[in-house]
């Protein structure tokens, strides 16, 4: 319903709001929205409408239902600071075990990403990428924490020790990207 309002599809939004109007916890919220629903100037002042409308793509592109990356790229082209779209794209590559594409996206948006702490799972994926590309000059700028590197060394040692037997690694490394990369079944579209 909020998406309908952001897109200006007020008739559809009204249908859902009329239902919410009869519920215990959303009654007041729905009533307030219904009062301003068709008043474009008042709708445009709502904080989440203000925030989301600039993120809506303004140029045409066609995509099929399973072209998720194309959809996310479209959002990023419209607004490179769209953090949600960026992280969805990065995580999509991680879930697909496509570390190359993950790293390519990471480096493309590194200026934005380096403004905050790099999530642990991203660091773990970057370590995987580093193994195959150790000579890139860029590594000095990527803050992979020493703890991540030492944990990776530990993972490698255990992996060799148990000859890749996943169950033996599960207790200690289940939460790591390396464990996912080696043992999880990624779902296809």
């Amino acid at each position: 319903m909020q998406i309908n309002i952001i897109n200006g599809e007020y008739k559809v939004a009204e249908k859902y709001l009329r239902i919410l109007e009869t519920t215990l916890f959303h009654k007041k919220w729905a009533k307030r929205l219904l009062e301003v629903l068709y008043d474009e100037s008042r709708i445009a002042q709502i904080s989440w409408v203000k925030e989301k409308r600039p993120l809506v793509p303004s140029s045409e592109d066609l995509r099929r239902p399973n072209e998720h990356i194309k959809a996310l790229n479209l959002l990023l082209e419209e607004n490179p600071k769209n953090q949600k779209a960026l992280h969805y794209k990065l995580c999509y590559h991680l879930l697909s075990k496509d570390v190359e594409e993950f790293a390519y996206t990471f480096f493309e948006y590194r200026d934005i990403l380096l403004r905050g702490r790099i999530p642990r799972v991203y660091q773990e994926a970057l370590v995987v990428y580093y193994i195959n590309n150790p000579d890139l000059e860029i590594w000095s700028e990527i803050p992979v924490e020493p703890a991540t590197i030492s944990r990776f060394a530990d993972y490698n040692k255990q992996f060799e020790r148990y000859e890749g037997e996943g169950l033996k690694l599960k207790a200690k490394f289940e939460e790591t990207y390396w464990f996912y990369y080696h043992y999880a079944d990624a779902e296809e579209d």
């Binding site: 599809e9 008739k11 559809v12 249908k15 592109d61 066609l62 995509r63 099929r64 239902p65 479209l74």
Partner: protein, 504 residues
């Protein structure tokens, strides 16, 4: 809500005033009796109600046209009258719900007559009288049942759906099959032979995928993808003999737009047509129905079974050229005894000449007309707001817009009643998202009258109903196979593999 029916006054039977009967009803504590309406303020305009019925034509065997009054009111007093009789109702809410028994009797005796519904509303102490809502009652009956699929109105979610049959003279609805009986199964493309339940089919996809066919009392499941076809068969049309079903074999995809009011389109990346011989469990086709240079789709047989109508477009590079994909209406001859498809394709409506695409041809039961949808491009009208209904006169060779049926939004998935006087179609006209079933009258000359929304018992129904009515089809006799019989056939085996006969 309390409803007080005051009186049923029968003014005329067989053209003469014969009887005046007043039926006293207990008023559950109502002390007012019939209110004094003589001093009611007259607005001079129609009342704001939903659904709107003013100017529509309805069959004499349709369920009560319940509605709600949209302006503020505490009480309603409603007078329903025709030359035959009149009924008065009192409601202490804004909802007008008629007694099914009274309505059935009243309407069946008001054939070929206008019915007037005069609404009086009261908020404080004074009554307000509105101009009467007027509709016409046709002498032509509508089929007993409407069959439809309920699906979510969005683009990608389909985990909850069901196929139902609804009695049109009442509000009874019966389940055919739904996601609770068969979780994870998509069910679609139900199709009947001549509005009857003795020959029908239903596609299942994903879990327990296959095609369920009921013919000659036998329920079976088949697999329609063969070594000679690039996909499963879909979009069926029964031959009137019951011996054949024509199908398209499509590679359908949805295309999403980044901007604009139209969020998605469905399009064929590939499409051919095949004919299925029900007894032999085998498909056949011909070069005119499966050309590599064209996409053929949406088959429909003439009532005599001698012609097969379909739409066809030259192939193109998709999705980039999707707006160039315009479908023409074509036909070929069909010999049901030899099972032979003719070689000469007759282009009935050229997309190039029309400047538009046509889709979903449905021949009227008398074989005189083809109802179809026009759209700017492609052949799936469900998402195209410009999609409108047209009728093609096969004798005059004239295409005419069914203006009375169309709106600014999508009209599509139309279906004829067995007597050819009623058409049901889907439309997104109410809010641009939900597809509703609309019913309209067509006279002998193919001229339409203003349609009405499928009536519901509760006038609030459409406010809270979160599904679309998809592929509505009239049915003249009840569908007697239970959901569990279908599920049993669907789940117990993968189904019989259909063969492909190459000698055609």
């Amino acid at each position: 809500m309390r409803v007080y029916r005051h009186a049923l006054v029968m003014k005329r039977v067989n053209g003469t005033i014969a009887l005046s009967l007043v039926i006293a009803i207990s008023f559950f504590g109502c002390k007012e009796g019939k209110p004094d309406l003589s001093n009611a303020f007259e607005t001079g305009i129609l009342p704001k109600v939903f659904p709107e019925y003013d100017g529509v034509t309805v069959p004499w065997n349709i369920a009560p046209l319940n509605f709600k009054y949209l302006d503020s009111c505490r009480y309603l007093y409603v007078n329903v009258s025709s030359s035959y009789s009149e009924m008065d109702y009192f409601f202490d809410s804004n909802k007008v719900k008629f007694s099914e028994k009274d309505w059935t009797n009243f309407l069946s005796n008001s054939r070929e007559d206008s019915v007037f519904i005069t609404v009086y509303s009261r908020n404080g102490s004074k009554w307000t009288k509105h101009n009467p809502i007027r509709f016409y009652v046709s002498e032509h009956r509508i089929d007993k049942l409407l069959l439809y699929r309920r699906i979510m109105p969005g683009y990608q979610t389909w985990n909850t759906m069901g196929v139902y049959q609804r009695e049109l003279s009442s509000f009874k609805e019966k389940l055919i099959l739904d996601s609770e009986v068969m979780p994870g199964t998509c069910m679609n493309c139900h199709n009947f032979r001549d509005n009857k339940a003795d020959s029908w089919m239903l596609h299942l996809r994903e879990n327990y995928g296959g095609t369920i066919i009921f013919s000659d009392g036998d329920l079976k499941k088949i697999q329609t993808k063969t070594d000679h076809t690039f996909g499963s068969a879909g979009f069926p049309a029964w031959h009137p003999s019951g011996n054949y079903i024509a199908f398209s074999v499509n590679q359908v995809t949805q295309i999403f737009h980044a901007i604009g009011d139209v969020r998605a389109h469905a399009l064929d990346m590939k499409s051919d047509m095949v004919i299925y011989n029900v007894d032999r469990n085998e498909f056949f086709t011909s070069s005119v129905l499966s050309s590599p240079n064209a996409y053929e789709a949406f088959p429909c047989f003439s009532p005599d079974g001698e012609r097969l109508y379909f739409v066809s477009s030259p192939s193109g590079k998709l999705p980039e050229e999707q707006e160039e994909m315009k479908y023409s209406l074509c036909s070929v001859s069909f010999d049901e005894y030899k099972g032979i498809i003719g070689n000469d394709v007759d282009t009935i409506i050229s997309a190039r000449t029309l400047g538009k695409s046509v889709s979903l041809p449905r021949v009227s039961p008398d074989g005189k007309y083809i109802m179809l949808t026009t759209l700017d491009y492609g052949n799936f009208p469900a998402y195209n707001p410009e999609a409108d209904l047209y009728i093609y006169d096969l004798t005059k060779r004239e295409l005419v817009e069914l203006k009375a049926f169309n709106s600014d939004n999508v009209e599509s998935w139309h279906s004829w009643s067995s007597n050819g006087h009623w058409v049901v179609f889907s439309s997104r006209r109410r809010d641009g998202l939900f597809m509703d079933a609309w019913i309209g009258y067509v006279d002998e000359k193919g001229a339409p009258q203003k349609p009405f929304l499928l009536p519901q018992k509760d006038p609030d129904f459409y406010d809270s109903f979160l599904f679309s009515f998809n592929v509505p089809e009239f049915l003249n006799e009840p569908f007697e196979i239970s959901p569990y019989q279908i599920a049993n056939v669907a789940t117990k085996s993968k189904g019989q593999q259909a063969e492909f006969e190459n000698s055609h």
